[in-house]
Amino acid sequence: MTSTHLPSRPNEASRAASALLSAFRLGAGQTLAGWPVLVGRCIFYVILLIVLSALWDKVVAERLPGTLAGELPAGGLALYIGVTEWITLALPAVHLKLEDDIRSGGLEPHLLRPKSYLAQTFSQSLGAAMVRLGALGVTALVLLAVSGREPPPWEAFAYIVPLGVLGVVVGILLYALAGLMAFWARRTLPFQLVIQKLMFLLGGLYAPVTLYPPLLEAVAKASPFAAHLYWPSIQAIVTSREGFLTGLAWQGFWIVVLSYACLSLWRAGLAKVLREGGV
């Protein structure tokens, strides 16, 4: 029974992938096990969409020339909000898990395991997010059918789904950055609030960033917050292959940058814990 089992190097990659896949399934399983919470999230999504689409429909209906309302695309804003909220509500609170584990010492059992805690946590969060994306996506489609609203072209869905999934990845990485600050700040709420506000302002949570003045629009579009929300959502009102590819490029860029930032913070924080025994 006390056999030693060290993995051989050629199999390391496949074993690491297998552990990550298992963590992904675990996250999905945890979310499904808490199905009443998932149902509550879908109900909240419906309420949000009813209220916000009514608001934007009224604003757009005015269409006063020379005003902000005059710049908005008719009818599509409800669909835009539907996508931003689909992504936002699918995000798990990875920052809270990281903060809790780091502050409470709950990290210790994980450090005694041969696989990376950060990679496992990310994969688990992604599993949870995918179940939520699925449930909220079905809710959105049902609501769209019931509302009688004109749906976006079919190709829009083919663009929105991959961009939405990658948008969730960007969102998890942004919140993970906030959570990892617990190594130094203990309380991550201020970082989380800053990220949330930037998602609102630069990500275009309630309206496309194309409404901003040109310079601000360019800055917003190049930010990780737009990669999280704007690029997937704009496909609901301006469906284009170019927009899809541009969004994909920005998302790829930010996933690499944010992953590196998370990894750097993790390594620095881990070194601190191994040296000082806690935070």
Partner: protein, 326 residues
Amino acid sequence: MSAVITIANLRKQYSYAKRGRGLFGGFSPQHVSIEAVDGVSFQVERGERVAVIGPNGAGKSTTLKMLSGILEPTSGEASVLGLTPWRDRKALAYRIGVVFGQRSQLWGELPARDSFNQLRHIYDQDKAVFEKRLGEMVKRFALAELLDQPVHRMSLGQRMRCEITASLLHGPGLLFLDEPTIGLDVTAKAAIRDFIRDHARDHGQTVLLTSHDTRDIELVCDRVIVVNAGRVVVDQPTDQLRRRFLGRKIVTLLFNGAQIVLDLPGVTRRASDAHAVVLDVDTRLVRVEQVITAALAHGGVEDITIEDPPMEEVIHDIYASAVTTQ
């Protein structure tokens, strides 16, 4: 026998910033250092079951953390299963099992089976080997009913059985246990102790355990290392230690009549008030049964409690003894 753990002059110094006085004290903190482990050295042979005990803050958990690789020492050397723990943390993780009595390694919302399965992937275990080991544990620990139950719905005793199972599924040769029976009832404690002892004996596993419960030490371990103020003060077989230091019981009598006075050899009064008397009983001179019989004969006894001396007292005795023999 071969050494599984060898540590030499291991030291760990913590430092923290102490806030200065006054409104702006935060800008001029004082840095304070604490010597948590101060030159600890010992060896543990393969198959030994060793308890590391000591009062709170003695340095036992810090030592355990350094040996499992999750804390770097300030200085000194250690070899665990041929590896340097803080340099080879991940490689060592495949070969050790760790149980924290106050921390769970399972996923609360999910059935225990899902946690075990996740651990199989984390430890790269072959499915057939894993299933065989899990089967043995399920049988030995009566886990069949628990496997499909969410961990957060389990009692503490049930959860601890699952925690120990989780720590053994990858077949570690060395098991670290930090307060494995803390908070458990008498029956659950007995089950955990029996399992740890029998499993280690049957599989030639080495165990390093910390606990404040003297029964954990007596029933599981064959050697005790006592640390105090970061130093090893006693290192000897459990039998010898028991004979030297665990030959006492504390008997508390609650009564509603006249003050109870017992004139028996080996019985001394520790404290008393109008309705209670606390007696220190030296079991080498008088049996507890004799004390109880004498108290009942006196009449008016409402309640009786029999306890081991507090660990702090045992440690104090050991430490005092160690100081006088130096």
